[in-house]
């Protein structure tokens, strides 16, 4: 049993079920990120934890107490909203202490708590201002201050960074992470930005269509996506999905595909598992991250299964830190991430190094990973 338990939580509006049997146990101090495209049910789930939406069936428990039907203010949670939701008529100080006031905390204690939080977030000089006089980043801090001051069991963040400009977003991301490391609080964080999910979380729940597609650590999600949706949603540029044919030979299993310029190529899987062998002769989808396709010198030296494939370079996109190289593999476009100074030019026939340890096979019909 976890600190925050979501057991078979389901949400329907009338006959339409928007969230199906979600089951997540969050440990104390964990940073869980719910990530997915819009309409996947992540915000609905967060609102159900907060008590802003009813739970149609199933249970949500905080610290072992089932909170279905418990008023949001009595769940000992705090929430940071996308729009920050600062009360426009109150000063920053009043905004921060409003929740304590509503919970009947004496004025002296409220002020002490407020000062502490203001110091932590470095907003002491803003306390007498109104939200309308603050910049986006300052509002964001005040919104976090309002949540922190309550000292809740669980923090809920609803896309808190999506209204900030790109640079500020990265800064605030780091600050949230620092804050989490410092305070060790339990956080559930909703975002549609997979980079935020990867960088902040201790665990990620990737959601789509009202289902949790995969729940795991950022590394698990990134390296071993459970299905094609997770594979293509997480990572930027997204995972290359190449149609290949499985061919089992004496003591190895190969993924066979073609390039336009150099005909058939064979890539050996690191381990000839029985599951793969069952697909002998059939077409599967092979997922390869762009950074698993490099120039031969840039290949991962720890990997024991680097395969080489010869193909024509179509486009190179130098991005400063990396160079993205596009080629055609099995009729689909394939992006390789190379070192910035990789010696590669468009039109050239090039030896790409593919790290097969990082390649993930998928069944194209069920879209699930083949183990």
């Amino acid at each position: 049993m976890g600190f925050l338990d979501i057991r078979n939580a389901t949400k329907s509006y009338g006959a339409v079920e928007v969230l199906h049997q979600v089951d997540i146990a969050v440990e104390e101090g964990e940073f869980l990120v719910l990530v997915g495209p819009s309409g996947c049910g992540k915000s609905t789930l967060l609102n159900m934890i907060a008590g802003l939406e009813d739970i149609t069936s199933g249970e949500i428990a905080i610290k072992g107490n089932v909170v279905n039907g418990v008023h949001p203010s009595k769940r000992n949670i705090a929430m940071v909203f996308q729009s920050y939701a600062l009360y426009p008529n109150m000063t920053v100080a009043q905004n921060i202490t409003f929740g304590l006031e509503m919970h009947g905390v004496p004025k002296a204690d409220r002020d002490t708590a407020m000062q502490e939080v203001a110091k932590l977030l470095q907003i002491e000089q803003l306390l007498s201002r109104k939200p309308g006089q603050l910049s986006g980043g300052q509002r964001q801090r005040v919104a976090m201050g309002r949540a922190l001051v309550r000292d809740p069991d669980v923090f809920l963040f609803d896309e808190p960074l999506s209204n900030l400009d790109a640079k500020l977003r990265v800064d605030m991301r780091t600050e949230i992470k620092k804050l989490h490391q410092k305070l060790g609080t339990t956080i559930v964080y909703v975002t549609h930005d997979q980079i935020e999910a990867m960088t902040l979380s201790t665990r990620i729940a990737v959601m789509n269509g009202g289902y949790v597609q995969q729940l795991g650590t950022p590394k698990e999600i990134y390296d071993n996506p459970a299905n094609l949706f997770v594979a293509s949603f997480m990572g930027s540029p997204s995972m290359n999905l190449v149609p290949v044919t499985v061919r089992a030979e004496a003591n190895a299993i190969y993924a066979v595909t073609t390039t336009e310029s150099n005909g058939e190529i064979k890539l050996a899987f690191p381990e000839p598992t029985p599951a793969l062998k069952a697909y002998d002769g059939q077409q599967i989808t092979l997922g390869i991250r762009p950074e698993a396709i490099t120039d031969p010198d840039g290949a991962d030296r720890k990997s024991t299964h680097v395969e080489t494939l010869r193909a024509q370079v179509e486009v190179t996109e130098p991005a400063g830190s990396d160079t993205f190289v596009t080629c055609h593999l099995g009729g689909t476009e394939c992006i390789a991430r190379m070192r910035a100074d990789a010696d590669v030019a468009p039109g050239q026939v090039f030896d790409f190094a593919v790290n097969m340890e990082k390649a993930v096979p998928f069944d194209p019909r069920s879209e699930n990973r083949i183990f």
Partner: protein, 293 residues
Amino acid sequence: MAQATQDTAIRTGRVTRTLIYLVLLLFALFYMLPLYVMVVNSLKPLDEITGGGMMNLPEMWTLEPWRKAWSEAQIGVEPTGLKPYFWNSIQMVVPAVALSTVLGALNGYVLTKWRFKYDTILFGLMLFACFIPFQIVLIPMARVLGVLGLAGSVWGLVLVHLVYGIGFTTLYFRNYYAVFPTELVRAAQIDGAGFFQIFWRILLPSSGPIAVVSVIWQFTNIWNDFLFGASFAAGDGAPMTVALNNLVQSSTGVKEYNVHFAGAILAATPTLLVYIVAGRYFVRGLMAGSVKG
């Protein structure tokens, strides 16, 4: 290219500009004319008016007609002037405006932030109040006031105006609160604020512009109402408008036009004041939410 800049929206030609101002000035004068006639004639002795020359300035300036209209003129049977009726109107208009505005705000709050099944239908029904002609409800309303024991009293009129006003005030506040971020209400809920705490502490303090609209609208309508005043408030309980009518329409004695003019201005002063004091918020409130800002 160089000539083209002469024709921008900012620098219109001098001739056009003069013409525009001239036309505007003419219209302004035209609209000010009735007020001018009322003011000058209320400051003249009666014989100057009956002698013709309505547009002339007074030869002998006097405040006597004003004093007479306020405290001496014959209204109905008593020579009380308009004073007691002015207070009747105040006693009616203040609670009616305050209550209808607060209830409208509360309705708007519930209809937007505490949605329930069929709430739009309910709101639609409430809007009927804005479209039903006053004359239709006279007889049922008289019956209701009779049953409640409020017939002929100021409180009866307050009730009538309250009921009629709620439709409008609800419409104003509902539309205003519809664009008020629901996340604020949710944040307040998580902070532990209750139904009325959210209303008083979060929504009402942000409702300035629309409250002004509601107050101006309600004040003007209720103060200027004649039909309900004449129908449901008899004799001493009558509001200002009814008293003014009794003053002007009296069929006996000399028609004291100067007193009538003074009385009419007195009756119009409060609404004029409300517009001058709160007018600039009026447009702002009407426009609120129409543009992103």
